[in-house]
């Protein structure tokens, strides 16, 4: 037994928190991302790219001031949970509570409903952006951490995954990341936050990449070797010349965030998840 006391969290509080986060995340960009955009503005050498960045920063200000979503694509609602093992969810189902929150947030917040059911045939809009894509991890403690990530389609569609021969190592990862970004050009709306997941299994590598795009811009990996690789990759990504909105420039990405996990002796799984400059997310702890 842990020394923590079991805490109850009511589903109504979860629904309320999720609804509020959907609206807040789609209108107010996190401070670390705004700082990343301003830094890009100050280092950009292309006049056209600089102008693009000025307009992107202006958009951030207008969205917040006038309560207009930063982007019309208010995304797939990805919800990442850190469930303390000493939390007891009461009053109903956790999944239903999250989806009720998404429905409320998107309907009452005038956010675009972008989810379609029957994806390979009739593609019928579910009208309230449900269901959320939910990931959960069991962690120590008696708190419930909820991160809401409204993930736009333009950048998500440029994701790539590959299982490499282990011998390809850093060189193989570098080439794969650079190719993914260069091929996608302006489609994912650079300057990007690049999430790279290395290791684990196929599905876990992409989950790691997704965790990468949620890590704040400017926060290095805790592991010194990984942090150094992140710096090397960021320099190379910005040497591609793609630039903001792909007009040409020295700011193709604001950050490259690599998340790793041990993997099988035969494997080197590598996943790349791209996040647009409107790198929206919101976190609370209940």
């Amino acid at each position: 037994m842990t020394s923590e006391t079991v805490r109850e969290v009511h589903v109504d509080d979860i629904t309320k928190a999720v609804a509020e986060m959907c609206e807040a995340a789609t209108h107010v960009l996190p401070d670390d991302v705004v700082a990343g955009l301003k830094k890009a503005q100050s280092t950009e050498t292309s006049p056209l790219a600089r102008q693009v960045l000025i307009e992107i920063v202006e958009n951030v200000e207008v969205a917040k001031r006038d309560m207009i979503p930063l982007c019309q694509d208010t995304g797939t609602t990805v919800v990442m949970l850190d469930v303390g093992q000493d939390v007891h969810i009461v009053g109903g189902s956790l999944r239903d509570a999250i989806n009720k929150g998404v429905s409320k947030g998107y309907t009452e917040g005038f956010l675009r409903a972008s989810m379609v059911d029957h994806p390979f045939s009739t593609r019928v809009n579910t009208k309230d952006n449900t269901p959320a894509v939910i990931h959960s991890e069991i962690v120590a403690g008696n708190k419930l951490g909820i991160t809401v990530v409204p993930k736009g389609g333009g950048c998500e569609n440029m994701s790539k995954f590959q299982i490499m021969l282990p011998s390809r190592g850093k060189e193989g990862i570098t080439e794969f990341v650079l190719q993914t970004i260069e091929e996608s050009g302006g489609n994912p709306c650079p300057p990007l936050v690049v999430g790279v997941g290395v290791g684990g299994s196929s599905e876990y590598a992409m989950y790691l990449a997704k965790k990468g795009i949620v890590r704040p811009v400017g926060q290095d990996s805790d592991d010194p070797e990984t942090a150094e690789f992140e710096r090397e990759l960021l320099e190379k990504v910005n040497a591609l010349g793609v630039g903001p909105q792909a007009v040409g420039g020295v700011n193709t990405a604001m950050a490259v965030n690599i998340e790793t996990y041990p993997t099988h002796i035969t494997s080197l799984p590598v996943a790349v998840n791209l996040q647009c400059h409107s790198a929206r997310s919101k976190h609370v702890e209940l």
């Binding site: 982007c71 675009r112 080439e175 650079l178 091929e183 709306c189 040409g248």
Partner: protein, 206 residues
């Protein structure tokens, strides 16, 4: 005049002729006035189906603008929600058929594939990009919105917008120019990239 230049500022109002399009070149900053039609994935699929069945399009695109956008809902008392461009390349398979119908100006985000670029040249038409992810700022230029076709598609219905000063930058002109390829070439730093060999942009978005 549909296209007028005043120093660096270009003002454009449809309908456009070949001669109007001929004035627009890669990198030009254009402000649009008047009518813009919206259409994205689902509306394009329906329009192309209509054409293949020999039926008329629900809107006359001759000389007109299509903007690839699916806006977010308007708050009460407002014309529209956020209204930035979506990825243009996804519409590549449908674009030549609409250019055949006389469409002159397209606005989206990102680049276009080689088939569309050739088609723009053949039809004397132009593709511009608006800044992706700047939907709040762009929405301010939209003064009126009417749904004119495929209402059941919701955000993907065809809408008729009236705009004042909607900003976009010429990306692919009728002379075969491509701003994105030129820009990347100019700012690529091969010394830093080392052994990495540059790859062309993908020809399709997904």
């Amino acid at each position: 005049m549909p296209v007028t230049r005043n120093g660096d500022e270009i003002r454009a109002e449809p309908p456009f002729t070949d001669e109007d399009v001929a004035q627009l070149r890669v990198g030009d900053h254009v402000k649009f006035y008047g009518t813009i039609y919206t259409a994205r994935d689902a509306a394009h699929r329906r329009m192309i189906t209509a054409l293949s069945e020999g039926k008329p399009l629900p809107i006359d695109v001759k000389g007109q603008i299509i903007y690839y956008v699916g806006p977010s809902p308007a708050r009460p008392g407002r014309v529209v929600g956020s209204a930035g461009p979506t990825t243009a390349m996804r519409l590549d398979p449908f674009t030549p058929a609409l250019l055949d119908q006389g469409l002159k100006v397209i606005i989206g985000k990102g680049g276009r594939g080689s088939v569309v670029k050739k088609s723009l040249q053949d039809h004397k038409a132009v593709y511009l990009f608006a800044i992706g992810g700047a939907g709040a700022v762009l929405s301010k230029t939209i003064k009126k919105l009417d749904i004119v076709a495929y209402e059941d598609l919701g955000t993907e219905s065809i809408k008729k917008l009236e705009v004042e000063g909607f900003p976009a930058i010429v990306c692919c002109d009728m002379y075969g120019g491509d701003l994105l390829l030129q820009g990347k070439e100019q700012f690529r730093n091969q010394d830093v990239l080392g052994a990495y060999q540059s790859v062309p942009p993908a020809e399709k978005a997904g």
